[in-house]
């Protein structure tokens, strides 16, 4: 495309725009309003609604502004009699079959058709025949349909094809009988499907959880940052009184563009779960009693101090906490002599900590992701970990980038890419093969693997694509980080990146995984991201060598941990567990002694540092529920009550500023020395469990978002096996199977699934029942139930 500017006139006003760009882009930029329905800046041009017809001098017919390129000297009239006649004509046509049921339509008050009709419609319809009626179909728990209202703009159809990468909505039928839908009644399963609610200009597609709960004019809009994945997508919260009624995206071109994931859109439902913890509680003689804040805080402070030896305390903090919470929690605990602080609850191997001296991050800005030419994802199903990041990768793939995946399960891609699938035990070896193909010399901790590796064609191709690319990433995803040999995967991936000129990308798992490192909420780094003077125990050590006492912040025993059963046994055996939490759960109540109710997300102010190291602040916009209080205030008081200096904050901004100052010289860098002697922890032979954390099982808030929990991506308590593996285990024909791992056993429904490699049993983690088992990757036995 040329970047030559052309000059033209719209309604007598002189404008300039890039030659070849569409007229509507230029008028939008200049603030000249042209009505439209099908046009959307992020979607391809359909030119089907005909609402944006304008008059162009010397052209006999009116032209659609969305599909008319600007040319030098062109004279455009957007409100001439001819243009207005065309626009009003379209408006009249759109309304003849539209039900005009605005009073009972959820879109009423924020409907593009309604708005435009005010300017271009008639008072009374000239059309008096019967109107079209379309039977509705249930397309899942997130999106309500009223297809009689559809004006066939096809934005939702184009979104599926072009953005989500799966064609779920389509047009069937001709003429007036054209219907937008899924053709057969099926749920729309894209992890970013909710965006079609925003795209739909009318009330055909609306939010099912929000439906009939509020009117647009009752809502106030405030900004927020999404607290689930590492992007920090920008949100607009819509509030009525003191309640979050729904969540919309806020445009931020360098993060989430115009989109948000369904997780970010619908997780707000979890805020109003019946298991919100709303008052401080202490366990007395096995019974939970509500107590005053004073009493609870004093008891918590006294009990923590009572343990005496700080090293006998473990501090486990959710990586979705705000930066202020992460920082204050570690400051409090380090002040009590406790260096056992971690927020990497789902990591499977901490051997890299010894040589890490900088903050790990994405290795690229988010906007540079689209420009990558090769991305090699190791142990990651990005679509189902961080959907909007996956959208960036998809854009790269559409631009011609080569995407390679090495995974212990075949994943559903929405773009072209190569998948290398092996058992969890073979992953390090397969990665070593790629490294070998790239010319990595065998040395250091991974020497024996590299020596043994055989570079096959696929490994050579991956290495060659990494080398050839101008802009390449080797990305370690959630499944790599949960791997018991993460240190080996990390070391080999780093060497591979080094040898090919690619960047190493360590995909931050949660909203504040980068922030936790900056805040010192990891055992080996202190606030500011530098190496800790006294390294403490990591999550796994804290659980394997149970401490006398624990402080939990935003963490649910069992479900938030890499090894659910281990977390339960360690916490149960402790003398004291103080939990600062927004929710109650049976597991938490079983382990804890003192519960301090915490405000979360929208209820508290705080900072999130996203995957690319961008600091974003969110305000507390609704009152905390019940007696719950913002985490930073709880921690501040605990600091005061444990007689520590430097806990006199009156506002979270002061905490932010303090951390910010500490982080002035912090660097985001994935480079580090490779540790020596990395013995593989996971054998390549025998039956192994594989497990992912399902998209909607990742944190306590999402797990309580009821609509999300009804979707496919909520995951299921099942055991998935390749049919041949099932036959080998004598399980063909069985409905359930008995799984044993680390001395725990449960029976689970059996699903045959050819996407699981043979030699592997797939059991997702973090679900109600599977969280009673052990780690996602490890030895397991399966037998007939």
């Amino acid at each position: 495309m040329t970047d030559k500017l052309v000059t033209f006139e719209v309604n007598g006003q002189e404008l300039q725009a890039e030659a070849g760009s569409m007229l509507i882009e230029a008028t939008d930029a200049a603030g000249i309003n042209i009505p439209r329905f099908c046009y959307h800046k992020k979607l391809s041009i359909a030119a089907n609604c005909r609402m944006c017809l304008v008059e162009v001098e010397k052209v006999p017919k009116p032209l659609p502004a969305c599909a008319t390129p600007v040319t030098e000297g062109m004279k455009v009239y957007t409100r001439s009699p001819k243009a207005l006649a065309a626009q009003k004509g379209t408006m009249e046509f759109l309304l003849i079959n539209h039900p005009l049921d605005c009073p009972i339509c959820d879109q009423g008050g924020e409907c593009e058709l309604q708005d435009v009709a005010i300017g271009y419609g008639r008072d009374v319809s000239r059309y008096s025949e019967g109107k079209r009626v379309v039977a509705d179909k249930n397309i899942g728990p997130l999106i309500a349909t009223d297809m009689t209202r559809c004006i066939h703009c096809t934005r939702c159809v184009r979104f599926g094809e072009e953005i989500a990468g799966i064609r779920e909505m389509g047009a069937t039928g001709r003429g007036e009988h054209m219907v937008i839908g899924t053709y057969i009644e099926k749920s729309v399963d894209s992890e970013m499907s909710g965006n079609i609610i925003d795209l739909c200009p009318v009330g055909a597609l609306t939010s099912k959880p929000f439906r009939f709960n509020a009117r647009a004019w009752e809502l106030t809009q405030v900004e927020a940052i999404a607290p689930h994945d590492s992007l920090g997508s920008n949100l607009n919260l819509h509030l009525r009184g003191n309640k979050v009624m729904r969540v919309h995206p806020k445009d931020n071109e360098s993060i989430n563009e115009t989109w948000i994931s369904d997780r970010d859109r619908f997780s707000y439902e979890g805020l109003y779960s019946s298991d919100r913890l709303t008052s401080p509680m202490v366990k007395k003689g096995g019974e939970w009693k509500e107590v005053s804040w004073e009493m609870a805080l004093e008891m918590a402070a006294a009990s923590l101090k009572e343990i005496g030896d700080g090293d006998q305390i473990g501090t486990l903090i959710s990586p979705t906490s705000t930066l202020e919470e992460l920082y204050l929690a570690q400051k409090l605990m380090r002040g009590l002599g406790c260096n056992n602080i971690d927020s990497r609850l789902r990591q499977g191997d901490f051997r890299m900590d010894a040589t890490q001296n900088s903050v790990h991050w994405l290795g690229s800005t988010l906007s540079d992701m689209d420009q990558m030419q090769t991305v090699f994802v190791v142990g990651g199903n990005i679509r189902k970990e961080q959907p909007i990041l996956a959208h960036r990768l998809r854009k790269a793939a559409l631009n011609g980038a080569k995407l390679h995946y090495l995974n212990p399960i075949q994943i559903d891609l929405n773009h072209s890419g190569e998948q290398d699938i092996c058992t969890p035990g073979e992953m390090a070896g397969r990665l070593a093969a790629v490294a070998k193909a790239a010319g990595v010399k065998a040395s250091g901790g991974a020497a024996s693997l590299l020596n043994a590796a055989q570079a096959d064609e696929s490994a050579k191709q991956t290495a060659a694509n990494l080398k050839a690319a101008d802009g390449a990433l080797v990305m370690l995803g959630a499944m790599a980080q949960a791997h018991p040999d993460y240190a080996l995967l990390h070391t080999i991936a780093a060497a591979l990146a080094e040898a090919t000129g690619a960047q190493l990308s360590i995909l931050p798992a949660s909203a504040n995984s980068v922030g936790a490192q900056l805040a010192g909420a990891v055992p080996h780094l202190q606030a500011g991201g530098s190496v800790a003077d006294h390294a403490g125990l990591d999550t796994l050590q804290m659980l394997k060598m149970p401490r006398k006492g624990y402080l939990l912040l935003g963490v649910e025993p069992g479900r938030d941990f890499w090894n659910g059963s281990l977390s339960m046994s360690a916490l149960q055996s402790a003398d004291l567990v103080v939990a600062i939490s927004a929710f109650r759960s049976p597991e938490l109540e079983e382990c804890a002694d003192i519960l301090l109710p915490m405000a979360i997300f929208t209820e508290t102010s705080g900072t999130y540092v996203n995957a690319e190291g961008r600091w974003q602040q969110s305000r507390g916009v609704v009152r905390p529920q019940g007696e719950s209080r913002p985490g930073w205030k709880i921690l501040r008081v605990l600091g005061n009550l444990t007689d520590q200096a430097g806990f006199d904050y009156t506002d979270s901004q002061q905490i932010h500023d303090e951390i910010h100052q500490l982080c002035e010289s912090a660097t985001l860098d994935n480079k580090q020395a490779a540790p020596q002697n990395l013995e593989p922890q996971l054998s390549a032979d025998g039956l192994l469990r594989g497990g992912d954390t399902p998209l909607y099982a990742c944190d306590p808030l999402v797990r309580r978002a009821t609509a999300l929990q009804q979707t496919q991506d909520a995951g299921s308590d099942t055991i998935r096996l390749h049919p041949e593996e099932a036959a080998r285990l004598g399980l063909d024909g069985s409905d359930t199977a008995l799984v044993k791992q680390n001395g725990n056993q449960i029976d689970l429904p059996l699903q045959l699934d050819e996407r699981i490699p043979q030699g592997c049993v797939w059991i997702s983690t973090s679900l109600a029942r599977t969280s009673t088992l052990g780690q996602p990757f490890g030895e397991v036995t399966v037998e007939k139930a």
């Binding site: 030119a47 659609p64 025949e129 001709r174 007036e176």
Partner: protein
């Protein structure tokens, strides 16, 4: 000068066979072009000289269309033949497929040679089963004779040709909807530009021509563009297939020189049935505005003559109506067709065609209102020129034509709730 070009084998026994076609000199031009390695520019020049205009209805000069393709652009290019003959009243391409399929094949190969395309598709209307079988059989014969495949007759030029049978949608006769349909998508027109010459089938440069246009090519190259042009009149070169139907004695397809008086065509078709009076003629397929019979008797069958009377030659589908026809009922039937066949993609046509039909229907059934005729004019005007493809115009034109010439009949229906024509 009857049946000189596309139907030149019609007088033979089983004229669709390869041997019959070759007995009339078929494939000789192709052999000559390939052996002499005739310059493609030369071929395009000859087609331009012939004055051949697109026979599908729009009448765009064929040679000019071909010259839009940049022949030396790298990558695949396509020749697509539009045999989705769906315009009500049109049945001429069917006879080419049935009786002279080889001439179409030869024309498509020559077109491919001219623009540097090595693949062709013939999109045949879904209802045309016999023509489809004939064409497939002809393809088989042509392949066996070495006229299709790799390295045609040792020339180094490759050309393969496939049939694509449509699913029965009128809209797939619109060239870009046809391309979408070949690609396996819902048949909906694309917004133009870009035109198929730049972004056609599978996004590649493509020429798409009507069956009759492509079948005319071998004769144009054999006898020269001037020969062809001289058959017809100024601005309307060559001969043309007219499919004439309606209240006449001998409906059928006639290949006659452009510019032949309508009265002669009517005579060839056996004149008016039962000696009735001619009332009106729809001269170019159902979307061409109606012309009163008396006026039509003075017109010639060429582009300019028909356009001068406010209608269009279109695809050459001549529908003759005698004085027993009610124009309201006639329009109702046509409006129903466009309502049924609108693809639904763009608003004015999707919504407007149904509206037009419903208003005409209520006039026909005695429910008409005084304001309805102005409403029809207005709705037709709001569709006309506002849509992605020409279907919107095609739906509006017959309404506008009928109201121009037969407004009194419509008014009578509204006023008296019955028809002024006895048979209505």
């Amino acid at each position: 000068m009857v049946n000189e070009v596309c139907l030149r084998t019609l007088d033979l026994e089983r004229p669709w066979l390869m041997e019959q076609y070759q007995s009339r000199g078929g494939y000789e031009v192709l052999k000559q072009v390939l052996s002499e390695k005739r310059a493609p520019e030369d071929i395009i020049e000859e087609v331009k000289k012939s004055g051949l205009r697109g026979r599908g209805g729009a009448g765009f000069p064929t040679g000019l269309k071909w010259s839009f393709i940049s022949r030396n652009a790298p990558g695949q290019k396509y020749v697509v033949c539009n045999s989705d003959e769906g315009e009500p009243g049109t049945f001429k391409d069917r006879d080419i497929l049935r009786y002279n399929p080889h001439q179409l094949i030869e024309g498509m190969i020559l077109a491919g040679y001219a623009i540097g395309a090595t693949r062709g598709y013939n999109y045949i209307r879904g209802e045309f089963w016999e023509p489809y079988e004939r064409f497939e059989q002809a393809l088989q014969e042509a392949r066996e004779a070495g006229f299709l495949g790799d390295n045609l007759l040792g020339s180094g030029f490759d050309f393969e040709l496939h049939t694509h049978l449509g699913g029965g949608a009128y809209i797939c006769g619109e060239e870009t909807a046809l391309l979408e349909s070949i690609e396996g998508k819902k048949g909906q027109p694309r917004y133009k530009p870009p035109f198929p010459a730049h972004f056609g089938l599978y996004g590649r440069p493509t020429i798409i021509n009507n069956t009759e246009s492509l079948a005319s090519i071998p004769m144009i190259l054999e006898k020269g563009g001037e020969w062809f042009a001289d058959i017809g009149v100024k601005n309307s070169g060559g001969s043309k297939l007219f499919s004439i139907s309606g209240n006449i004695n001998n409906p059928g397809v006639f290949e006659i020189p452009m510019g032949t008086p309508f009265s002669e065509l009517l005579e060839m078709a056996g004149g008016m049935k039962d000696g009735r009076k001619i009332k009106a003629v729809i001269p170019g397929g159902s979307s061409a505005p109606v012309i009163p019979g008396e006026q039509m008797m003075d017109l010639n069958m060429d582009y300019d003559s028909i356009a001068g009377a406010g209608s269009m030659l279109g695809s050459g589908a001549v529908i003759v109506l005698d004085d027993t026809n009610c124009m309201v009922k006639t329009l109702e039937r046509m409006s129903y067709f466009y309502h049924e066949e609108s693809c639904g993609q763009c608003t004015p046509c999707r919504e407007g065609t149904g509206w037009l039909y419903r208003v005409v229907h209520r006039i026909e059934t005695g429910q008409g209102r005084q304001e309805d005729l102005d409403l029809l004019d207005d709705v037709a005007d709001k569709i006309s020129g506002k849509t992605i493809c020409a279907l919107g115009d095609a739906a509006a034109l017959p309404v506008q034509g009928m109201l121009r010439h037969y407004r009194d009949e419509f008014q009578y229906h509204i006023d008296h709730k019955r028809c002024m024509v006895g048979a209505g």
